[in-house]
């Protein structure tokens, strides 16, 4: 009995000694990171947040991205660096003030390591200063405005990355398609004052002029406007052969609808961009959607098909928008970067240096994603995009690919 007790006591003493020996060593990790570290306790999850448009008329955009991330989390076993992933977030409403509100709330949560978002460039413009100051890494699956990764621009903030294409590429591709494939020489553009639409139409106009075309008018509508008659009358007075309006719902649907009943525009080509690649356009524009061109990133390949199958079993529907694969890759890049910089202690505590994570993100090289082989620049562009042009047909979603012709599946 006494012997037994002494064995127990000795074991306890040994354990205690081991623990005390380990103790100071664990505390020895001092965070030397410029902007601090996130400490994750042995049983705590790693918190990845989203700031996407998951409600309102553009919700398909954000929900699709969120679904993509959820598939990616499942594929990664639900864990990063041995810790479970906590994934939640807020709606940004696809507007500057929505981004501001959601950004303020997220920035006040120090457990967040990275934010997947935003959906719209306008949200990024107001949310990014807050998220960047909070030390987070942000990676967007669908922001495309050139400003955001232009280091000389005031809308560029450290810690910002994106897997979506830069609109310098999309705008130029749209102009190339219009001038060389459709053979139109006169075009007009309409934007809605959002960062995304304004910069995209400007890139389109510049590229179109460089190719030798003429821009008859660059004009704008307001968000919430329903009656487009006066703006379309101004557009018609220049008799363009193509109208490029890379805007959002529901204004885009109103323009599609009303262009057909504007004198001089009944037969004009209409072209929109990825912001209007959505089943909602079909629902809202009705029969007048027939023949409308829409540009959007082109994602193909066996890995993508496997992803779509998983998406379908998880959510019971085909992908509802276009940036699900980009969101999948965004999460993958964040996961890889966290695992590269995370410092795991013996008791399971993980430290993630925030600046270190940003540097690791920027150092991402040849990451094999669904959207291609991705390499991030220091300024935040990670995409390796091919832009396709699709055409809407009444009653058939998704739109059919018509350009570049070599990617059309026979």
């Amino acid at each position: 009995m006494v012997k037994k007790l002494s064995i127990v006591l000795t074991t306890l003493a040994v354990i205690a000694m081991v623990l005390t020996a380990c103790g100071p060593k664990a505390a020895a990790y001092t965070c030397t990171d410029k902007i601090g570290c996130v400490k994750i306790g042995p049983t705590d999850p790693i918190h990845i947040a989203y700031l996407l448009v998951v409600a309102g008329p553009n919700s398909a955009l954000g929900i699709d991205s969120r679904n993509g991330v959820e598939v990616a989390i499942d594929d990664g076993g639900g864990k990063i660096a041995g810790h479970t992933v906590k994934f939640d977030g807020l709606d940004g409403g696809c507007s500057a003030d929505g981004g501001q509100a959601a950004g303020t709330k997220l920035a006040s949560d120090p457990t967040i390591v990275a934010v997947i978002g935003t959906s719209c460039s306008s949200e990024a413009r107001s949310a990014e200063p807050l998220l960047s100051a909070a030390g987070f890494v942000t990676i967007s699956s669908s922001n495309t405005a050139p400003d955001l990764t232009d280091p000389t621009n005031k809308n560029h903030y450290p810690g910002y990355f994106r897997t979506a294409h830069n609109d310098k590429i999309q705008g130029a591709a749209a102009a190339d398609f219009a001038y060389n494939f459709l053979k139109v020489t006169k075009a007009a553009t309409i934007h809605d004052g959002s960062l995304y639409a304004d910069s995209l139409q400007q890139v389109f106009a510049d590229s179109f002029k460089k190719l030798g075309g003429t821009i008859t008018l660059q004009t704008s509508v307001t968000v919430g406007q329903t009656d487009m008659s006066s703006v379309l009358a101004s557009v018609a007075s220049g008799s363009p052969e193509l109208i490029y309006f890379p805007i959002f719902m529901p204004e885009g649907a109103f323009i599609i609808n009303q262009a057909k009943t504007t004198p001089g525009l009944e037969k004009t080509n209409l072209m929109v961009a990825d912001g209007l690649y959505s089943p909602d356009v079909m629902k809202a524009a009705g029969a007048s959607v027939e023949g409308v061109y829409v540009s959007s990133p082109l994602v193909q390949g066996a890995a993508y098909d496997a992803f779509v199958a998983k998406y379908k079993t998880k959510f019971g529907t085909d992908p509802i928008n276009i940036f699900h694969a980009h969101a999948y890759d965004a999460y993958g890049i964040v996961k890889a970067a966290i695992e590269k910089v995370a410092v795991t202690q013996a008791d399971g505590t993980v430290y993630i240096p925030r600046q270190g994570l940003r540097d690791a993100m920027a150092a991402t090289k040849d990451y094999k994603g669904l959207t291609g082989v991705l390499t991030c620049s220091v300024d935040g562009d990670c995409a390796n995009p091919i832009i396709g042009v699709y055409q809407y047909h009444t009653g058939a979603y998704p739109p059919t690919l018509i350009w570049p012709t070599q990617y059309i599946k026979k």
Binding site: G56, P57, A60, V221, T226, S229, S234, A253, A284
Partner: protein, 353 residues
């Protein structure tokens, strides 16, 4: 004579007149410059005018709700824009169903009538509930109280419908029978525009008839003149008020269907802008005055449609259409400054004034 005149005019008057004068000069100058530029052929103005008339007709029907309720209760029912939204946002499901089954194409008249009945019915119901729950308990409260309640009710209704049908948008199916168009004077006139204009005028006449020539209309006018006296004469004031709300709701629901013929997308926040424009129209024509609201709405519809291009293109404004709301609200401000009772004037009996 000159002296009394000089005494009456204050510095504020001069300042206000200067503002009015400068805006008027700007409008005239812009118009002349635009027309001299010759950027737009005459057919464009004709097209915009027709679109403006159709829009004005819809505003007129919504404005009825504001103006009649104001006439009787002396309150602005700011939740009326949600009454307008409720009808078409519900009827869209009927429309989609009818379109899918092919009924709408085979029997467009019956189909459209069905949609109209559902839309007007829902709007009427919402308007009656609004009166019963939000306004009746506050009938004797200070005037500010029901006004604030109206704003609260407006948000409540908006988000109730968001909860019911979701935050996305729904599209009204196109009606084949209405896709016809006629070539008149170099422009296409579309069947939808004709239906909207004729429909709006027809409904206005019915409303006007009810107010002017029926017994209950007479009672409405009596209540609006003097509530107490009307009650002493044996008029059931509560019933008249409910009837007024119902009539306003029905016309808003009908307006909703016409609106969706022009702009076939419905969302839960679709009521806000048309509502505020219709309110402007009601004030423009003289709030509380039924023909005034009609006149105000037509003027506003035309101004919004023709105005931006006509006034601003010549002044070199880059995207004039973005300023169309500004034009509408500048008109509201000018009216409030120069003729606070509106174009036709609020019908004020001595007692109320």
């Amino acid at each position: 004579m000159l002296r009394t005149w000089r005494q009456r005019i204050t510095l504020t008057d001069i300042f206000i007149w200067l503002i009015g004068l400068s805006i008027a000069t700007l409008v005239v100058w812009g118009t002349i410059a635009t027309l001299r530029q010759g950027q737009y052929p005459g057919s464009v103005w004709l097209d915009l005018t027709i679109k403006g008339l159709a829009l004005g007709g819809v505003y007129a029907l919504i404005a009825m709700g504001y103006t009649m309720v104001y006439g009787i209760l002396k309150m602005i029912n700011f939740a009326h824009s949600e009454v307008f939204m409720a009808g078409p946002f519900t009827a869209v499901f009927v429309a989609i169903g009818l379109s899918k089954s092919g009924f709408l194409d085979r029997q467009p008249v019956i189909g459209l009538a069905l949609i109209l009945v559902v839309s007007a019915g829902v709007s009427t119901l919402i308007a009656i509930l609004l009166e019963r729950i939000c306004y009746r308990p506050l009938r004797n409260a200070p005037r500010l109280v029901p006004l604030i309640t109206a704003i609260g009710a407006s948000f409540f209704l908006q988000y109730t419908f968001r909860g019911l049908y979701g935050s996305g948008s729904y599209g009204y199916p196109a009606i084949k029978a209405l896709s016809k168009s006629w070539l008149v004077g170099g422009i296409h006139i579309y069947a939808t525009q004709v239906v909207v204009i004729i429909g709006a005028i027809l409904m206005m006449l019915i409303l006007f008839g009810i107010v002017q020539w029926t017994k209950i209309g007479k009672a409405m006018r009596a209540v609006s003149e003097d509530k107490e006296a009307a009650e002493l004469m044996g008029i059931n004031v509560d019933r008249i008020i409910v009837f007024t709300f119902a009539l306003g709701g029905a016309s808003a629901g009908a307006a909703g269907v016409l609106y969706t013929l022009l702009f076939p997308v419905v969302t839960f926040y679709m009521g806000f802008f048309p509502g505020i424009k219709a309110f402007t129209a009601a004030v423009l024509g003289g709030i509380g005055n039924v023909p005034g609201a009609f006149l105000g709405a037509i003027i506003l519809g035309l101004l919004e449609s023709v105005g931006p291009n006509l006034f601003l293109t010549g002044l070199g404004v880059p995207s004039p259409s973005q300023l169309k709301d500004a034009i509408a609200f500048i008109v509201l401000v000018l009216i409030l400054i120069f003729r606070p009772t509106g174009i036709l004037g609020e019908r004020i009996s001595k007692d109320k004034a």
